[in-house]
Amino acid sequence: MSSSRAAMFLLLINGTIFAQNNAAVLRFEVASVRPAKHGQGPHGTPLVVNHGRVTLDDASLRQIIGHAYGVQRVRVLNCPSWCDSEGFDVVAKAENPDATQDQIRQMLQTLLLERFKLAAHREKGEMQMYALVVGKHGPKLRDGRESESSDDLASLISLLAV
């Protein structure tokens, strides 16, 4: 492993409120954002979407931003001091039960704007990162056994008589 610098897209939190066309804004039909009562310590918070109902348990602001903008949390810069320390329970419902993941993300962005007064923009910048490189004695990786492959490897295939 070696350290190097690389250009990547970052999400910067700033004080500028975007001008938004209300007609085009996607928002949840109903949303509840409450401070989480019992902090769980560092943990993952998957974005659970079930028929348009979104649940995030004890998620930090950085985690919510990560889901809303589809970026890794380390790429969220200029986050306020409480960005990682405070947890929130988010329960929201989209009007359309078949809302796509992209639509849900846009609704989360609107929620962040309206409830957290969040303003953000994307920019390209350089960051310190680790590069995985082959050592001097070569790779010691072995082929995986096919029988251990996961079910998820079965590709989506459509055969349609038309």
């Binding site: 096919e146 029988s147 492959s149 079910d151 998820d152 490897l153 079965a154 590709s155 989506l156 295939i157 459509s158 055969l159 349609l160 008589a161 038309v162």
Partner: protein, 427 residues
């Protein structure tokens, strides 16, 4: 000179016989196609439950076993040259693409009706007579066919590409009844941008009695695909719980083109004139006894019935002892020193409208020598070329009791009792 005349006469006679035979094979083909057109015209009146058991594997240096992926169940109806799908128990058939119901693995259509229509009835295919063969104990006539890609019959979409292919294969029909017994099809003219080594489809047909009609329906089929990346996927499809379906509402398309897909998906659907069929709650034990023996004089598709031996009690459900459960003979096959028999039970009378009988077989009693099977085994062709077969095993279809009964003559006693546990459609 005389020898030359005799030879000429023989040649003339032979060519006349060949021409007559060719003409009779053409006439036979026309009769089969007319017969199947008649059968297909009745197909929109019936809906079935399509159960697809899906398997996959990656062919590497070492050949591994096919791995089960999952089982997909959908209601299906054929109408206006499309197969329409609905979630189990739903009466509104609004999808022509079963792809919408899955998130991984292979899914396809065509086995219920479209493939038959494309190959035998839509025109464009060329046929050649191949002679008589025995198939599943029946005397069958075989024709080979080819349908070019230009007619746009079959689309394959995999992550690496998408394209139309042509079809080539064979079909077998019963010599007496002209009923289709089986269709086999493999993809030809695979376009260069579509990295597919092989795609094969086999469909088997059987007659079944529904109400007063004796209907020829697809009973089971296999879909096989092998990509250039050596990913192999197999779907085994079975149709059960078929019943009459009356289309009341109009089927609307935004185009008059017979081959066009509905332009606006949400404006096209087939809504049945029937109520969604009720079901017994899950996890109820139900013991049945046949009302009459099954013998080898009974054909596949013959209606059968059984009665409940005890009262069936569940939350808000009461089925009285002696209630009738209806079904059909799904399969009879002579094997070794006995017969494999499959009996399919589909609906139970419970005082009001009949309920769908959907249950797993637990045991068979009162019949010495009978060996029940709770698993189905099928041979499927694998690999890039036909000829290499493998066995796959899957749980028995709900509502279907399969068993081996020894003896030279088939006789399933009327006293045969079976115990079932009801289940939900989605589990």
């Amino acid at each position: 000179m005389r020898r030359w005349k005799v030879t000429s006469a023989i040649l003339a006679l032979a060519s006349s016989v060949v021409a007559q035979n060719a003409a009779s094979h053409e006439v036979l083909l026309t009769r089969i196609r007319a017969h199947m057109r008649e059968e297909l015209s009745r197909l929109p009146n019936y809906t079935c439950l399509e159960t697809t058991d899906r398997f996959y594997r990656f062919l590497g240096r070492q050949k591994t076993k096919l791995r089960p992926l999952d089982t997909v169940r959908l209601e299906i109806v054929y109408s206006d040259r499309h197969e329409w799908y609905a979630a189990p128990g739903d009466k509104n058939f609004s999808e022509t693409d079963p792809f919408r119901f899955i998130t991984r693995g292979m899914i396809g259509n065509g086995i219920f009706g479209v493939l038959l229509d494309n190959i035998l009835l839509s025109g464009g295919a060329t046929f050649s007579y191949r002679g008589e063969e025995r198939l599943e104990g029946q005397k069958a006539i075989r024709y080979d066919y080819r349908r070019p890609r230009a007619l746009g019959g079959f689309e394959i979409e995999i992550p690496e590409g998408k394209g139309l292919v042509g079809e080539q294969g064979s079909f077998w029909a019963d010599l007496q009844s002209l009923d289709l017994i089986r269709i086999f099809s493999h993809a030809v003219e695979v376009p260069a941008q579509l990295p597919v080594q092989a795609r094969r489809i086999t469909v088997s047909y059987a007659r079944t009695r529904i109400s007063d009609s004796n209907v020829l329906l697809a009973q089971e089929g296999d879909m096989y695909l092998l990509t250039n990346g050596n990913e192999e996927q197999i779907n085994h499809v079975e149709f059960s719980h078929c019943r009459a379906f009356i289309v009341q509402s109009a089927i609307r398309f935004d185009s008059d083109d017979r081959t066009a897909k509905p332009a606006a998906e949400d404006s096209s659907q087939v809504a049945g004139g029937m109520r969604p069929m009720g079901m017994l709650p899950e996890d109820l034990p139900v013991t049945l006894q046949l009302t009459a023996p099954v013998t080898q004089n009974d054909a596949v598709g013959t209606l059968i019935s059984a009665k409940t031996v005890d009262d069936v009690l569940g939350n808000n459900t009461f089925v009285k002892r002696g209630s009738i459960i209806r079904g059909r003979i799904r399969d009879i096959e002579r094997q070794g020193r006995g017969f494999w028999v499959s009996l399919e039970f589909t609906e139970i009378g419970a005082g009001g409208p009949p309920l769908r009988f959907y249950a797993d077989l637990r045991s068979i009693q009162s019949a010495p020598g009978i060996q029940p099977s709770l698993l189905r085994e099928f041979q499927v062709e694998t690999g890039p070329n036909s000829g290499s077969e493998e066995k796959i095993t899957m749980p028995e279809l709900p509502g279907v009791a399969s068993f081996f009964i020894p003896g030279g003559r088939l006789s399933v006693p009327g006293s045969l009792r079976m115990t079932w546990i009801t289940r939900s459609l989605t589990r």
